[in-house]
Symmetry: C2
Subunit: 457 residues, 2 copies
């Protein structure tokens, strides 16, 4: 990076918002996904819209790629540089600008942490449902750019269902306003929709308007033990088919249960082949009715139902589930977290396929995830240095994707394409779709400076 | 249009699917909006994907614009030709391909009529909520391209909240697949989101995957009479602020009530200054609780509540509301239906502003619409041949838009931009957004052949 450029950036943003030391830059060469590391040439932290625009214009003039990054919790390598450039971190643009109780929306800067917003709106008796696993540190801007999912997708949808408006800059320096504060709005192209899962490749958001909903009056959580994971999966399909939508419907297999229990010691049933964690919420009468129906279906499928008697027990349950990933990660040097997703009725088939694939390639796969919306997380524990095993792992991943598509599903339910899934894109969407995406991107970023080399474009 | 081209089209599609007579073409020179009429050079009705691709390739090679059209119920001139070209009508691609009860989705061709789908899924105990006023004839493809709203937007959202996947061709002949059949899906750009409110300018859809939801168990409808329209508007704001979301919350002013009653003779209270039509739905206990709370708020604001005792009475109520537009249209030669939309709490302010504007310019405005989601329909009755009055009408429209934006709202909640609102776009979204939209369009349609001259691009 030219010294004059660095000087200009330091002068505008302040020295503490510009990182050039190799050690500092190394921290921004990776995210939560595995892969080769490439250092950015510079890392900047604009604090407001004007500084953001300054950075974008400077990089555009000098044809330097920008890789936008929130908290870096990305699971597909979407926020790492491939050929150097400028990592633009949004975490200093972190103000909640408005929470409107009457009209049920919030206006936030892109760097606001998901959990902070969720907690804040609760003070108003409101609810922001999207709860990605990383919500304690992930940012709203990142959630939008990746269309983050979470545990509540089944009943409440995912990030895209809550984005009413966005403000952004494109690489040509245009200030772009999409959507707004009204429930209905159709003036022009759906720019908020376009930014959803755009992975930082079409523009850099600085403000987001999010829909809020009334907080559900009550909820009931239960833990259901199974001696066969397939019975658990059948339960999931049957609950959905009976037209009940629990707010969460999560699965953990025996391997995951043991990994969590070993680390957390909270009394999970380590001999169970699988657990379902189910929560129903809403009006008390609805919760009661749905609970009775869910319990019946669980028991019919040989599940043993325990209800969380109080908030403490309930929190313990959900903490156990949220820790699954980190507990698994402790076991082996390399963890590969997949999120191939299938229509919900195909959960039992997918589970069977994963078990067969693990056995065929003699590798360790712990499976947990959002069974209720078809979004399982088969998690492969391996060591990248063991070349022989890693080749088998790669074959297993290919096969998991093939099966997901065969069942009418998708390569990625909520983790994005980034680098790790780029090579599989054509298999799901075909050449024509990739051409269309490439043309869209070139239309608004003709020099391909925004997060280049991602999604196979 | 060259004779050889017509021949080629007739040979491929059959003579009955190609219109070239002037009288026939004239029928496709207008939609439900007012404005100058320009004849298309040809009108075609492809029956399947392959024929559609054939038409697109032929037009692309010959650089002839394509204006895609469903049922032509568009209220902003979005489906009419501006400089000739080919009107491509989707109504012969009208098969419901799949209704999946287990996974709660439907796959339909773009020309399927909204009401037909809604009725069909009801047979499965399912519910497709978006219900634009024109749903008896409008097509799903048109609903997506315009992001059609309707009466249930308040609780259930609009078309965009139900689009899981789309298949389309772009003008370069790419076959593009976006989204799919899973609740979570993030492989690549959000193409279904991009097609929402794209008004036929970015691609031509032939298939849509729509989310379905379980049918609400029960509902309760009420009619509330007010001697002041402002009291009615205050009721609306207060219901929303109390965090109840009725499935519908509609308003009719005195002028509209009288227009409907005169034509339909169903016993509406013609002396009331305004009516609210409210429906709550869901679990019986929820319906009962919400009904009691809503009734209380209505009465506090001096409303006189009557409950529909049976389905017949209920249907009569909603038929009355759905007829509002056609009953108003009978009164004067030119009807201009606006849909400026404001955040819900601003409904009383907007209503006051509309009354003041009508009086200032001495014109007739009947107002009805989706008060619950901030989407009022001030409807101007005039005669375009009366030049003096029409000048005042145009000034009044400008002022309605200015007020809507001042209150944090938008030019259009559900009718789209098309031709009629093109000149106002910059006022709402700014020059940068228009540049961005233009670049997006040029990226995928470099010769500007898809519905050109619309949205001010």
């Amino acid at each position: 990076m030219k010294k004059s450029l660095v000087k200009e950036l330091e002068k505008r943003l302040g020295k503490s918002s510009v990182l050039i030391d190799e050690g500092d830059r190394a921290l921004f060469s990776y995210d939560a996904a595995y892969g080769e590391k490439v250092l950015p040439d510079i890392v900047v932290f604009p604090e407001n819209k004007d500084d953001l625009q300054f950075v974008i214009n400077l990089m555009s003039e000098n044809e330097i790629p920008i890789i936008t990054r929130g908290a870096g919790t990305n699971l597909s390598g979407g926020t790492v540089p491939v050929s150097g450039g400028c990592v633009l971190v949004t975490t200093k643009m972190n103000r909640i600008l408005e929470i409107n109780e009457k009209d049920l929306y919030a206006v936030v800067e892109a760097g606001v942490v998901t959990k902070q917003l969720a907690d804040k709106v609760e003070e108003y008796g409101l609810f922001y449902p999207p709860d990605p696993g990383s919500m304690n540190i992930s940012t709203i801007g990142g959630n939008v750019a990746e269309n983050a999912g979470g545990l509540r997708g089944l009943k409440y949808g995912v990030t895209k269902d809550y984005v009413m408006g966005v403000k952004l800059f494109d690489m040509a320096g245009n200030e772009v306003i999409g959507g707004g504060k009204t429930v209905k709005l159709v003036t022009g192209f759906n720019i908020p929709g376009l930014m959803i899962s755009s992975e930082g490749m079409l523009g850099i958001m600085y403000e987001v308007i999010l829909k809020l909903v009334p907080k559900p009056a009550t909820s009931k959580s239960m833990l259901v033990e199974y001696s066969s994971v397939i019975d658990a999966c059948n339960t999931v399909s049957e609950i959905i088919a009976s037209k009940i939508l629990p707010s969460t419907l999560e699965l953990m297999d025996n391997f995951t249960i043991n990994a969590v229990e070993e680390s957390e010691k909270i009394g999970l049933p380590v001999k169970a082949d699988a657990l379902l964690l189910i929560e129903v919420d809403g009006h008390p009468a609805v919760v009661e009715d749905e609970f009775i129906m869910v319990k019946k279906i669980c028991e019919k499928n040989k599940g043993n139902v325990k209800v969380a008697d109080n908030n403490e027990e309930r929190d313990k349950l959900w903490t156990a589930r949220r820790k699954a990933l980190s507990c698994l990660a402790r076991l082996k040097p390399t963890l590969i977290l997949e999120d191939a997703t299938v229509p919900r009725s195909k959960i039992p088939d997918m589970m069977k396929a994963i078990k067969e694939i693990a056995s065929k390639y003699n590798i360790t796969i712990g499976t947990f995830g959002h069974a209720g919306d078809g979004n399982l997380h088969p998690t492969i524990l391996t060591d990248k240095r063991d070349e022989d095993e890693f080749r088998r792992v790669e074959k297993a991943i290919d096969e998991i994707f093939e099966k997901a598509l065969l069942f009418g599903g998708t390569l990625s339910g909520e983790h994005g394409v980034g680098l790790l899934k780029a090579k599989y894109m054509e298999m799901e969407v075909g050449k024509g779709t990739l051409n269309f995406m490439k043309n869209l991107k070139m239309g608004v970023d003709s020099k391909n400076l925004l997060n280049p080399h991602k999604m196979g474009l």
